[in-house]
C-alpha cells in the first residue's frame, strides 16, 4: 500500500485498526455492562488518566503478576485538593493499605475507599522512581496541572514492610491474578502510572488492567465504622450536598416520592 499520496496514506492509516488486537479488560461477573465507564489496559511504563464521578467503583487488576500501579487522585472540580499520603496513613493509624482504608484528601475528605483487595501488597512510603514521575507529570499536565501537583503517591501490587528499626523490606508482588477495588466518593481525576517500584531489585513490569463502573448505591453504607472514617465521610457528604445544585436534589426527591 503506497503512502506517497494523501489518498494512499489515508487508506494505509484506516486499514490499521481492523487488523489490530488489543487487550480490553472486562467487568467482573455480575456487573451489568451498561454500568461500564472505563476499560483500559496499561502496558509496562505507560500511564492513564480519567475523570470519574462520585459513586464509581474502580478496579485495578494485575493479571500477570508484574503490574505496579502508582496512583494519584485529585478533586476533579478543585485539583488543588488531592490525595494526601501522610493523612491517609496517620488518620486511620495504619501504614498499609487494605480493605476499609480511606484515601484521604488534604482537606479531611474521603476521595476513595479501598473496598476489595486480594493482593495485600501495597506501599505508601516509597513513591515513584524518577522515570515514572515524568509519566505522572504528563498525566497531570493533561488535566491542566504541572509538577507542583505531582505529590506523594500510593503504589498498588508491590509491597514494602517496615522493621522495628525503621528499615524497609521490599515484599514484592502477591502474584498473578489479584485485584484492588476503590469506591469513589467525590468527582476525581485518577492518574495512574504502571512502572517499577523504586525498591524492586528485578523490575519486570507487566500490564495493569483498569475497569470502572457506576455503583452509586454503594455510597449509602459506610465501609467501616471507625470514628475517623465516619467523620471523614461526614466532611465528604457535607461538602457534596452543599455543592450540588439544589434543583437537582429537589428533582431527585420529587421523583423518589413519586415512586412510593
Amino acid at each position: 500500500m503506497t503512502t506517497a499520496s494523501t489518498d494512499g496514506a489515508r487508506s494505509h492509516a484506516r486499514s490499521q485498526a481492523g487488523g489490530a488486537t488489543m487487550r480490553i479488560p472486562t467487568l467482573p461477573g455480575g456487573v451489568d455492562d451498561t454500568r461500564l465507564v472505563w476499560s483500559e489496559s496499561v502496558p509496562a511504563d505507560s500511564y492513564a488518566s480519567r475523570v470519574l464521578g462520585r459513586g464509581a467503583r474502580l478496579r485495578f487488576a494485575d493479571p500477570e503478576g508484574g503490574a505496579c500501579a502508582h496512583l494519584l487522585l485529585f478533586r476533579a472540580d478543585a485539583s488543588w485538593e488531592r490525595l494526601n499520603i501522610a493523612d491517609t496513613m496517620k488518620v486511620p493509624w495504619q501504614a498499609y493499605l487494605g480493605v476499609g482504608h480511606p484515601l484521604l484528601s488534604d482537606q479531611g475528605r474521603v476521595l476513595a475507599t479501598v473496598v476489595a483487595d486480594t493482593s495485600g501488597h501495597h506501599d505508601m512510603l516509597c513513591g515513584l522512581p524518577p522515570a515514572g514521575r515524568q509519566k505522572m507529570l504528563l498525566a497531570a499536565i493533561k488535566h491542566g496541572m504541572d509538577s507542583r501537583d505531582v505529590a506523594p503517591s500510593a503504589t498498588l501490587f508491590k509491597g514494602v514492610r517496615v522493621e522495628d528499626s525503621g528499615a524497609l523490606t521490599y515484599a514484592g508482588s502477591a502474584g498473578a491474578g489479584t485485584a484492588v477495588e476503590l469506591l469513589i466518593h467525590l468527582p476525581v481525576v485518577v492518574a495512574v502510572v504502571n512502572t517499577a517500584h523504586p525498591l524492586d531489585p528485578h523490575p519486570a513490569v507487566t500490564a495493569l488492567d483498569i475497569v470502572a463502573w457506576r455503583a452509586p448505591e454503594q455510597l449509602t453504607t459506610p465501609v467501616n465504622d471507625e470514628p475517623e472514617y465516619l467523620r471523614a465521610l461526614f466532611n465528604t457528604e457535607a461538602t457534596w450536598v452543599a455543592s450540588v445544585s439544589s434543583e437537582s436534589i429537589w428533582a431527585a426527591a420529587q421523583s423518589s416520592e413519586a415512586l412510593k
Binding site: A86, A95, S147, S153, S165, G166, N235
Partner: protein, 210 residues
C-alpha cells in the same frame, strides 16, 4: 592542623506555634535546638535559584525514604527532592528517629483525628501556607514534610501513631545545605497528641557558614 572557625549568620528563636523560613546557601548549616524538649518542628525544603523557588526541587519524603531504605531520619540521612537531588544532609543529631511519614497537622485533619470541636485550633498547614506565600508559593507546593523531634513508630501489622517524643530540653539536630535551599518551618501548635508534650514551646534556629 587547620582550624575552621564557622560564623554565625543568624540566631533566632521561633515562638511557639509560629512559622519561620530562611534560605541556606550551599555549605551553610542550620542547627535546630529543641529548647524545652519534645517540640515537633515541621519542616519543608525547596531548592532555590537565588531567591526563586525551583518547584521541581521540592523535598520528597518518598524519594528520601526510598533512597535510604528506612523511614527514620538521623545523622547521615540525605533529604532529597523527587528527582533524587540532595537538598540537605543531617550532620549531627542528639535525638534520632525523626519522622517524615506522618505529615503536618491541619484544621481539616484535626476534625477527623480529634473531632469537629478542634476545627478552629491553629495547625501546621496554616503556618506552611502563610509562610510559603511569602516566597510566592501556594497550596499545591505543600507536600509531606519532615517532623524533627517527632516519634512515629510503625508496628508489625502497619499500625502507626504519634507517641511520646525522644527529645529533651536543649537537644538539637543540624542539617547542612547541599544546594541553595529554602527551609520552611512550622513550630507545631498541635495540642491534641504528644508530639509537643501537649504544650507547644519555642525552638532556636542557628545558621552558620561553612
Amino acid at each position: 592542623v587547620t582550624t575552621t572557625l564557622s560564623t554565625v549568620i543568624a540566631d533566632e528563636v521561633v515562638a511557639a506555634c509560629s512559622p519561620w523560613s530562611a534560605i541556606l546557601r550551599t555549605g551553610q548549616s542550620l542547627q535546630i535546638v529543641d529548647l524545652h524538649g519534645n517540640q515537633a518542628v515541621d519542616t519543608l525544603f525547596y531548592a532555590v535559584d537565588g531567591d526563586t523557588v525551583d518547584p521541581a526541587g521540592r523535598y520528597s519524603a518518598q524519594a528520601t525514604v526510598a533512597a535510604q531504605k528506612n523511614i527514620f531520619l538521623t545523622t547521615g540521612s540525605v533529604l532529597r527532592a523527587a528527582d533524587g537531588r540532595p537538598l540537605v544532609t543531617i550532620v549531627a543529631d542528639e535525638v534520632g528517629n525523626h519522622d517524615t511519614i506522618a505529615g503536618a497537622c491541619s484544621k481539616e485533619s484535626n476534625t477527623l483525628r480529634y473531632g469537629h470541636h478542634t476545627v478552629h485550633q491553629h495547625a501546621c498547614a496554616e503556618n506552611f501556607l502563610a509562610e510559603a506565600a511569602k516566597w510566592g508559593m501556594g497550596k499545591r507546593d505543600i507536600v509531606s514534610n519532615v517532623n524533627f523531634f517527632m516519634n512515629v513508630p510503625v508496628e508489625a501489622d502497619g499500625t502507626l501513631g504519634i507517641v511520646d517524643g525522644r527529645s529533651a530540653p536543649g537537644k538539637s539536630l543540624t542539617v547542612r545545605a547541599e544546594t541553595d535551599t529554602l527551609v520552611l518551618v512550622s513550630n507545631c501548635p498541635q495540642i491534641n497528641n504528644p508530639c509537643n508534650g501537649f504544650d507547644p514551646t519555642p525552638v532556636r534556629m542557628v545558621i552558620t557558614s561553612a
